[in-house]
Symmetry: C2
Subunit: 214 residues, 2 copies
C-alpha cells in the first residue's frame, strides 16, 4: 500500500480516500503474457499497476510498436477511462503482475470529489504527452544507432552500473527488429562505448553515448 503512495495521482489522497479507493478496487493477478485490455474494449476501467511489468502497445500487420512499458507502480489506461472511449492500444503483462482495477464510474467520482486529483491527472497526462512526443521523435527522426543510444540513456541510473537490457523489448519500443538492436549493441561495444553481457550492459563512455543519442 505504501508503494501506491508513490504514484503521483494517489499521493494526494487522504488516508480515508485511499482506503476508499482500495475498497472499490479489485485486485487482479495476471501471469506473464496476459492481455489486460484491447482496442476493442471501451474504457470502463481504470488501472493501477501495483506489481510487475506491463507493456502498452499498438499492433498492425503482425508488427508491434510499444508506446510505454510500466515497471514501477503507476496508473495506466487513464485517457480512455476518463473519456469512456475505446482504448487506443493494447496492454499486456510482461511478467507476473498485480493490477488494481477501478470502475470508471468510481474513478470519475474521485475526480469530482477532489479537484486536486483532477490537477494531478492533468499532470500525468501532460507527462504522457511529452513521453509520446519523445517516442515520435525517436521513431521518425533518428537512425538505429541513435535510437539504441538514447534508449540506453533512458535506462541509465548511475555511472558504472549494470543495466538490464532486453533486446527484444528494446526493439519493440524503438520500432526496430531485434537483429538490428543486437547489431547496434555490438557496434557500441566495438566503439568501446559500452560493455555487454547477455542480459545487461554497462556504459563505459557516457559522453560519447550522449553524443550518439542526438
Amino acid at each position: 500500500m505504501e508503494d501506491l503512495r508513490k504514484i503521483p495521482l494517489l499521493s494526494e489522497l487522504s488516508e480515508d480516500q485511499l482506503k476508499k479507493v482500495l475498497s472499490i478496487a479489485t485486485l487482479k493477478k495476471y501471469p506473464k503474457g496476459k492481455v489486460i485490455f484491447t482496442p476493442s474494449q471501451k474504457g470502463e476501467f481504470f488501472f493501477i499497476l501495483k506489481k510487475g511489468k506491463v507493456k502498452v502497445f499498438k499492433t498492425a500487420k503482425g508488427k508491434e510498436q510499444i508506446l510505454k512499458v510500466f515497471s514501477k507502480p503507476a496508473i495506466f489506461g487513464e485517457a480512455a477511462s476518463f473519456t469512456g472511449s475505446y482504448f487506443p492500444a493494447w496492454a499486456e503483462s510482461l511478467e507476473e503482475s498485480e493490477v488494481l482495477v477501478i470502475p470508471r464510474k468510481e474513478f470519475l467520482n474521485l475526480l469530482r470529489e477532489d479537484p486536486e486529483i483532477g490537477m494531478k491527472l492533468l499532470a500525468v497526462m501532460a507527462q504522457r504527452l511529452m513521453h509520446l512526443t519523445g517516442v515520435i521523435e525517436n521513431l521518425s527522426l533518428k537512425d538505429a544507432l541513435s535510437k539504441v543510444s538514447s534508449y540506453i540513456l533512458t535506462l541509465y541510473g548511475e555511472m558504472g552500473e549494470e543495466i538490464t537490457f532486453r533486446t527484444n523489448i528494446a526493439a519493440m519500443e524503438l520500432g526496430l527488429t531485434k537483429e538490428t538492436v543486437s547489431r547496434m549493441l555490438s557496434k557500441l561495444k566495438e566503439m568501446g562505448i559500452i560493455e555487454k553481457n547477455r542480459n545487461s550492459i554497462k556504459i563505459k563512455d557516457l559522453k560519447a553515448l550522449k553524443e550518439l543519442s542526438i
Copy 2:
C-alpha cells in the same frame, strides 16, 4: 469571438469568463513561416489559434516530423503551459495566423476557478494522447501507401468532394519524403482510387482506399 466558442475548452465559459479571458489575452499576428514557440522555451504562455494554420513539430538532424497541424480555432501548447516545463516541440505558422496568447498564471487561475474547465482540459489532453498514438501507429506500423491512404481519409469530408492536398505537408506529417508521397499519389491514381490535380485530389473508390489504409 463566436469562433472561439467552438473550442471545447472555451465553450464551457460564461459570457463574463470569456470576456475576462479575452481581456487577459494578447492578440498576436504571425505572418507565414514564423516560429511561435520552441523547445528551448518554458511554457509561460498558453495559446489559442483564432485564425490561420499552425504546425507543431519535432526536428533533429535537419529532418522534421509534424505532430499536429491546427487549422481550425483550437488551443495548443496546453501541456507545457500546464506544467510550466519546456515545450516538447516547435510551433510555426503555416499561413498568416492570429493567435491569442495567455500568460500561464492566468491560465492556471481559470483552471482553479472552475473545475469544469479542468475537466474540459482533461478531455482535450485525452484527445491529444489518442492523436499521438495514431501518429505513432502510422509512423511505425504502416508502409508508405498505407500512410498516404489513411492520411487522405483523415482529410475526407464527403463523397466526391475536392480535397486540398499539400504534398510536402503530408510528407512531414507522415514521416516520408515529398517524393515518396508524390509517388504514392500517382500509384493511387493509376489504381483508379483517386483523381489528382496539382493541389487537390478527389476520392473515386472509398472502399479500396479504406482497405489500403489499414
